[in-house]
């Protein structure tokens, strides 16, 4: 699984980036589900940019908010070393 929707091999045809939430009609992002939120973090526990995840702005904001809530509740770390 890779969050990077574009191929590493640039000569290949690029697949179009899409927002998974808009596409599958997910409306609410639960902050109590750290395993799901982990998909949007890098190894240090930082939130991945929209550029990489392909999320729409609406859902990127919701992701960021959920991650921050999860951090407050110690479901996700603020700083980590080799989170994945």
């Amino acid at each position: 699984m890779s969050l990077q929707n574009e191929p590493i091999n640039r000569r290949q045809e690029r697949t179009k980036k899409y927002c998974r939430f808009t596409k599958y009609g997910v409306k609410y992002i639960d902050y109590k589900d750290p395993e799901f939120l982990l998909k949007f973090l890098n190894e240090q526990g930082k939130i991945l940019p929209r550029r990489i995840t392909g999320n729409s702005q609406k859902f990127q904001k919701k992701i960021a908010r959920s991650v921050k809530r999860a951090r407050q509740l110690a479901l996700l770390p603020y700083v980590a070393d080799g989170l994945k």
């Binding site: 599958y24 409306k27 639960d30 951090r71 407050q72 509740l73 110690a74 479901l75």
Partner: protein, 122 residues
């Protein structure tokens, strides 16, 4: 003011015995009910490992309440949570219509359906 949907998650310190933990939880449920809040869901999320230590504790009992209440009681309720030494952390969130819908579906165990969509999108 209009009644809103809320959800509160709090972490009870792991040093308490089982009965003391239940007592603490019951105390806060009582507080909410005493303030005319409609607690329609109470869930024990169990003893979990914390992502980082809080007060030198590495685990904690998570508990979740979903309730409908007047916004004016939230501040008072949060003060009570703050005052209680057995509470490591808490977070109160007001839910929009999607959140209410999501929680209802989660209670009815629609998880399998959701994780399928997630896998497809992954």
């Amino acid at each position: 003011m209009a009644i809103k949907h809320y959800e509160v998650v709090f972490i009870v310190t792991p040093v308490l015995s089982d009965s003391e933990t239940t007592e603490t939880i019951a105390k806060f449920e009582g507080l909410l009910k005493g303030a005319d809040a409609d607690v329609y869901h109470s869930e024990d999320m169990g003893l979990r490992k914390l992502a980082y230590p809080i007060d030198k504790k590495s685990t904690g009992h998570y508990h979740l309440f979903e309730f409908k209440a007047d916004p004016s009681i939230i501040a008072k309720f949060e003060i009570e949570l703050k005052r209680d030494e057995n509470i490591l952390r808490f977070l109160t969130v007001s839910l929009d219509k999607h959140g209410v819908d999501f929680n209802a579906r989660r209670r009815n165990g629609e998880w399998a359906k959701k994780s399928e969509t997630e896998e497809k999108s992954a």
